[in-house]
């Protein structure tokens, strides 16, 4: 029955360690065996675009590992290109930490926060220490496989090119990085659950995802900027705040051992690299019993205060919706977009990236010149338009898709009402704030003309939303299909949508060259929007 015999056999080798930790190894092995079996049937977030099929060899998990192995190939150049270890390995560890942390939060928060365990397992003759250790081991097994898949090929290549000592330091550093990622996530949850209720934690997971995605991209920039190319060699000046960047700690170990760079900064960083994960691990096991007790909070209902409908949304709804029914569907969709956790888990990181990506592009490209020219910076805002196909596509899914029977029993003849309202809600709730923030920054950087550019991009976003709907979701109800059956949007469709964005961008660029072209273009877009939203939706 159990296909995880290899993992379990490896685990058997460490049975003594588990006994030292005070766990009942037989029970722990049993729990883990079944947990691993269930994992094989889960669809990890990284594979969210694929339909779950019964395939004993290529399970969703194995497929996700293959994908990680593919990502790992991109690390090879940084591992073999020379001996600027501080730079090269900081990039490698940034990428590794990003992948481990996002995977930890997206796929393994559910393991840490599983309260089904409490009802199913706590009522059985198995002690809580064994359950805690099982939970931790479960995550470690997963993270080991993931890190292994990601780094196996790069590691082999680095043994050949950089030597055994390099590879050995890399392996040991990776173990510490993995521990750090797991334990920091857990400690964060422990602290949140100590002071807040479970509802707050669930909501916070989304925020962490966005912060993490944005944080890592910005962190990557900070690291890249800490190095300057002078005469084709990398120059680096150590600053105190580099101690706040974990990837730098681990790259310091390489610098210290392999290049004998024994500066205080390197020694300090290397020491932190080892002691922080150990300290975190100690803290984790110390806090774990409290955490398990506090998990009870996830099981009890929490009262949320009645949220007032905002006047702005009410006003927009009256202006945007055709009738009372669409108005109701619009508010329903707004609430779903705010509260549907799985939707947020899958869409919000994309939103976070599309918000910051234009700025990163501007400053990255700008830094290479003496003065940044913001004249064409509006074009970068098209990165935000690129998120629209994903959002529109995901709107038909819900973790509570069974509730969609409601659409069929209410007396509404125009079945498009629901999706139309949902599309409008997604524009108002997700797209509009991003364009607004970007426009404000662009206005600050490049002057009031950016307001016109922002308006045009928003109008294009509205038009593109309608086009995406007609391309991918036509005739479907929103929030009506379960996430477990998320089908991959065909690559062709995604390619077409990207092509459309490029065409829009090109037209925008050309129109900008013509006097009053932008105003005429804005008017044309308004008319197009009116026609498409009125006649086709």
């Amino acid at each position: 029955m159990m296909n995880n015999t290899l993992t379990l056999k490896i685990l058997d080798r460490f049975s003594g360690l588990f006994k030292v930790l005070g766990a009942d190894y037989e029970k722990l092995r049993l729990v883990l065996g079944f947990k691993l079996m269930m994992d094989k049937r889960r669809v990890p977030t990284i594979m969210q675009d694929s339909r779950q099929k019964e395939n004993t060899l290529l399970t969703p998990f194995v497929k996700s590992l293959l994908l990680y192995a593919f990502y790992g190939l991109f690390l090879i150049p940084f591992l073999i290109m020379g001996d600027a270890y501080l730079f090269q390995l900081s990039i490698v560890f940034t990428i590794v930490m990003f992948i481990l942390m996002t995977s930890m939060i997206a796929d393994f928060s559910s393991v840490l926060l599983d309260v089904r365990d409490k009802v199913i397992l706590d009522t059985k003759p198995i002690d809580s220490k064994t359950l805690s250790v099982a939970k931790f081991t479960h995550i470690v097994i997963y993270m080991t496989q993931l890190t292994g898949a990601l780094l196996l090929i790069p590691l082999i290549v680095s043994i050949v090119i950089q030597g055994v000592a390099f590879a050995l330091i890399l392996i040991i550093s990776l173990i510490f990085v993995s521990i750090l990622c797991i334990v920091l996530t857990a400690i964060f949850y422990i602290l949140v659950l100590k002071f807040f209720d479970g509802e707050k934690l669930r909501n916070m997971i989304n925020s962490i995802q966005i912060v993490l995605t944005v944080g890592i991209v910005v962190g990557y920039q900070l690291i890249a900027r800490s190095f300057e190319m002078i005469d084709m060699t990398l120059a680096f000046e150590w600053q105190w705040w580099h101690l706040l960047l974990p990837p730098m700690w681990y790259s310091a170990i390489f610098e210290l051992i392999l290049l004998q760079n024994t500066s205080l900064a390197m020694i300090l960083s290397a020491l932190i690299a080892i002691f922080i994960p150990l300290l975190a691990l100690w803290l984790y096991f110390k806090l774990m019993p409290t955490f398990e007790r506090n998990l009870q909070k996830l099981m009890s209902a929490t009262h949320t205060r009645k949220q007032k409908k905002s006047k702005l949304m009410n006003g927009l709804s009256k202006w945007l919706c055709r009738d009372q029914k669409e108005h109701a569907a619009f508010h329903f969709a707004l609430t779903m977009l705010r509260k549907e956790r799985e939707f947020k888990l899958k869409v919000y990181p994309v939103l976070g990236l599309s918000l910051v990506f234009p700025f990163i592009m501007i400053f990255t490209l700008g830094s290479q010149e003496t003065e940044i020219d913001f004249h064409f910076s509006y074009l970068y805002a098209y990165f935000s338009v690129l998120m629209i196909p994903t959002v529109v596509y995901m709107l038909k899914y819900s973790s509570k898709a069974k509730g969609a029977w409601l659409y069929h029993v209410v007396p509404i003849e125009d079945t498009k009402t629901f999706y139309r309202a949902t599309l409008k809600a997604s524009l108002v709730q997700l797209f509009m704030p991003i364009i607004l923030v970007q426009s404000l920054v662009f206005i600050y950087l490049a002057g009031p003309i950016m307001l016109l550019h922002g308006t045009i991009i928003f109008l294009i976003g509205c038009l593109f939303t309608a086009i995406c709907y007609l391309l991918v979701n036509k005739g479907k109800y929103p929030f009506s299909e379960p996430f477990s059956f998320v089908e991959s949007a065909s690559t062709a469709l995604m390619f077409i949508s990207m092509l459309i964005v490029v065409i829009f961008g090109l037209i925008h660029f050309l129109v900008n060259l013509v006097p009053i072209g932008l105003i005429i273009y804005a008017v044309v877009l308004m008319v197009c929007n009116y026609l498409v939203w009125r006649k086709m939706l």
Partner: protein
């Protein structure tokens, strides 16, 4: 029924967020009894069961199961307990066989014996064909039957049924009612928590009525009915001080009609 005390609660109290959920509950349950544990929503029924099962630890007082204080003993006492949870929590990604094997092995049963027992039990429930099907494809009633089977597979001495009839068809309800009676006759102790009064009335040897965290009635149905008229439902209403159901129903009808007129 023997005089052996299987379960004892001494001054059991617990409060959540300043609200006293259980207030000094004292109780002794004898071997072979069927206890009907009833009370309005939020009275503390599920909390009592969760404390006895070790799901909730922060309580005051003592819980003695099979003669051992659960605060001082290891988890071994749970080997003799079966539990059907109210919430129907189950690992839906597993097949029926995988799930029950997992649960059985937790109680240190051999996999072969579990499979044999499960196959026979599923056949009795006319569910043998789903032995290898994933639980996520089951109807609510099928899941409930599987939960009941999983709670009994290790032949426990003390069984907690928290709304066990939820989602079951009429035939299955009859089977479970009969099953409870027979299990009690064979010396098993049953703690049956439910809102379905007529079933509690018919199958329980002893009925405990919990209201606002305290036991307000304790005795057989006949004893509860002494000096009173009517069914258990009427006694329940009287003891919980709830007699406004007719008035509330009238109010609802009035509001519905009112909403129509507003349109």
């Amino acid at each position: 029924m023997s005089d052996e005390i299987i379960l004892e609660l001494r001054d059991l109290s617990i409060s959540f967020a300043g609200k006293q959920v259980l207030d000094r509950i004292n109780l002794k349950v004898k071997k072979g009894q069927i206890i009907g544990y009833i009370g309005p929503n939020g009275a503390g029924k599920s909390t009592t069961v969760k404390i006895i099962l070790g799901l909730i630890e922060q309580y005051q007082g003592d819980v003695i199961v099979f003669g051992q204080n659960i605060r001082e003993t290891s988890v071994q006492y749970k080997k003799r307990i079966g539990y059907v949870p109210e919430t129907g929590e189950i690992y839906q990604d597993l097949t029926a066989l995988e799930y029950v094997t997992f649960v059985g092995q937790m109680y240190e049963m051999k996999a072969e014996l579990i499979e044999q027992k499960l196959t026979d039990l599923l056949e009795l429930f006319e569910m043998k064909h789903v032995l290898h099907s994933r639980i996520e494809t089951f109807s609510k009633g099928m899941k409930q039957k599987l939960l009941i089977i999983a709670s009994l597979i290790h032949d426990p001495d003390l069984i907690f049924f928290d709304e066990p009839l939820s989602g079951l068809d009429a035939n299955s309800v009859m089977i479970i009612k009969e099953l409870m009676a027979r299990l009690a006759r064979s010396g098993k102790t049953i703690f049956y928590s439910s809102h379905i009064m007529d079933v509690v009335e018919k199958i329980s040897d002893r009925i405990l009525l919990l209201n606002n965290g305290t036991i307000v009635a304790d005795g057989s149905f006949e004893e509860l009915r002494a000096n009173r008229e009517g069914s258990l439902e009427q006694i329940f209403n009287e003891l919980t001080g709830f007699d406004r159901h007719e008035q509330i129903a009238d109010e609802i009808v009035r509001l519905i009609h009112g909403a129509d007129h507003d349109e």
